[in-house]
Amino acid sequence: MTAETAPLLCLLMVAAYLAGAAGALAPLGPRLTRIVAAAGAIGGAVAGTVLATVVLVGGRPLVVTVPALLSVGGGLALRLDGLGAFFLILVGVVAAPAALYGVGYTAAYQGRYSLRWLGAMLNLFLLTMSLVVLADNALTFLLTWEAMSLTSYFLVMTEHERADTVAAGSWYLAMTHVGLALILTAFVLLIPPDGGASFAELRGAAATASPALRGLVFVLAVLGFGGKAGLVPLHVWLPRAHPAAPSHVSALMSGVMVKLGVYGILRLALDLLGVGPAWWGALLIGLGAASALIGVLYALMEDDLKRLLAYSTVENVGLVFIGVGAGLLFVSLREPAAAVLALAAALYHAVNHGVFKGLLFLGAGSVAHATGSRDMNRLGGLIRTLPWTAACFLVGALSIGGLPPFNGFVSEWLLFQSLLPAIGSTAPLVAPVMTLAVGALALTAGLAAAAFVKAFGITFLALPRSAEAGAAHEAPLTMRLAMVILAVLCALLGLGAALILPVLGGIVAGHAGLPRLAPPLTAGPLLLPPGGAASMSPSLVAIGLLLAMGGAWLAVRLLAARGLRVGETWGCGRLGQTPRMEYTSTAYAEPLRRVFAELYRPTEDLAIEVHPESRYFVQSIAYRSEIVPWFERYLYAPLVGRIAAWAARARVIQSGSAHAYLAYLVVALLALLAISLAWSG
């Protein structure tokens, strides 16, 4: 396919999503509605992926402008360059399996929720996400961004009768609009007084802007996009909203939408603002490290499977931001090779996280689908009843735990390698900051492995902890197929790293003063960070692992005794094992809860009832423990209280009389006119 087909593909993508949305709204049977909605989404996702591939391979950006639409803001302007194409591929790669999964998953919604609305919103959500990365002027960007937020809000609100869903939706809506206001301000500050708001003009304006203004725009962008990406402490909506949505939507929100926050920062900082001072990178590294650690620490303590995954999204976004921050830092230190490596590592981790987090959310959805529960303390033993889901979830858990030979391992290794040259830097403060980043990265990796051993082990292994878990059933074919696709992608993204990394290097090259030609990052099957600091080959490591396993298996098979007897689990001589003897999710995390007690500050209630005759005969023990995250307790609780108090004060002007409101309108209009008069006069 040649570059000429790009506009056609773009049209095809938009048309497929729109057709999917329209078809879902059409009066069809419920089964057909589900299939049509999924077909539109898959068609759009495939067309988008092909489009992005064409742009990446052809190396020529796609440009489409429709001046008639949105003529106020310079028309609807679309442009797809390498950076946008990368994120468009991310959208497509996760969206297609998620939509496929939705066919089976939403069957249970039939009769309870509107399938038409859900199908239409899913398609529009995907469309707006695709358009965000295509936008080429401020108005197009902001409109599609807002549309993306609204459609995802409606998707979160699918199970609208549940109180926690409504609360999650409100948090999400509030946070996302604060973010929008900040992004809007950032753009407005950049728009030259006598110019338009196309990205090219913004780029020109940013080049001549004062350092203070550029710094302000950067901070606003970090806060605005960081809120969407789930950077601590703006992430509070994320562990609420992502689990509340239907699982395939959770997969999209956690796997893809969050990354568009990363895209926003990259677009603004790397593309529009260009080379910045060193503190930009340091700020992102600091926020990233804090997000990674806090995300994984709270993920560890979660008993709700989907909330655990949502907190782990905060963690992984933090890792991506460590990479982005290191990249920006190297850009400002004029070390282009190291910058390309760090940014490529960040992009690599972004796509990896999209794939494995998508997979894990789909797996969690299958578990909820099969048992009706997300509480790990009520699950267990599902590896026997849900073999496909279990195997796929295991692949996802190993990937996210950064274990070889899967994809998470490759991007974490690259992140480590990209921090290494900075420790040797002689610029002030760089070395200590990077040292701490390495420590945080490593602690995060270890804790993430622990969190996902807990998530997989407690959910899928041992005996079922409740009747529902015992009566679970495997997911339907579409759901299984979607998970298998993503699991295979996890493996491929790991094994094929030597092919993927140069592409990522090529995407970031050319931005912000980086050379047009990326340094070679690979040599044959080896990943070779510039500077020759180290090398690694995931494919060869995988081959080595398989050889060693095969060899061990063969040797044992040939030489060792072959008898196998099935018996009881050892229970100190007590026969008849019950699920109550097993470790629970809460118990599993207890040692780490103690270690980090100063952070968690858990509230604990322990009530022991003893026999009236002797206190050594315990009749019942009730244990309750709760962890309220400290940023909610010390940051948001006072803030929300303050806002509520102001709102109560503002109630004075609420009379309920229509005339009063009309009068307010008139007064406001007159005041505005007077101000503009004074301004121009």
């Binding site: 420790i423 490593a442 807990k454 008898g563 689990t569 094992q577």
Partner: protein, 313 residues
Amino acid sequence: MESWAIEVAQAALVLGLAPGLVGVVRWLKARLQSRRGAPPWQPYYELRKLFGKEVVVSRNASWLFRLAPYVVFASTAAAACLVPALAVERPLDGVGDLLVVVYLLLLATVFLALAGLDPGSAFGGMGSSREMTVAALAEPTVALAIFALALSAGSTNLGQIVARTLGDPAAALSPGHLLAFAALFIVMLAESGRLPVDNPGTHLELTMIHEAMVLEYSGRYLALIEWAAALKLLLFFALLGNLFVPWGVAVAAEPGALALALASLVVKLAVIAIVVALLETRVAKLRLFRVPELLSVSFVLALLAVTSSFLAR
């Protein structure tokens, strides 16, 4: 061709030596405690016995339980192949660096922890939970110690670190190097389940970590896991020996140099074994909740190692 022969010989050597090393440590401990002790080659007998026995698998265990021993053994063996036990110039040196070794060991730990949960016994869950806690907290120390080494060597590749230290003998005595050694030594004790973190010689549920996790294993599966544990111990000893005191490691692939490398490896392993045996005789096991304190000591040592490496430049 020749280099691959060395590679294979090296892999065979570490696989063969590993049980013996465990036996030597046990024997030394016994002697230090005025016991006669089993002979150093006892672990070989044990492995042979275990491989010849039938396995008993819990009714509740799934396929993961039967897969795990192979994964644990394979990933530990793969990690061991990456460590330059004898020679610097090796075809496999570029395949994985020190970080890959760490991640391969983490893979083994994760599968053991999952297998501990699988049969649903309380012991398995307890061991699994504790093992993951220790593994997670050891991780930052390992990363920082690796970075301290990489700072002076300019690489995280094992061969290059060894070659660099060989080329600059004074660097081996720099504070950064010594501190990184101390930090990794503590991590080695924690990761391979030695005193004062875990007691390899006990089956008392309150004190054990590793043993609790593998309680349900028997027969050939247990043999694989025990062998992998021995291999991990040897791997750590060889890393400590060859990364920090690299003298003796063969630079050129000649028979003489290789013989010298073998001899020096045995001497280094013996010296570290004596140190560990002395330590295990002298210290008591820490309470589980003091283990994080020990690991934070090692973390601070690693942090100081990195800081000293800044200073050295």
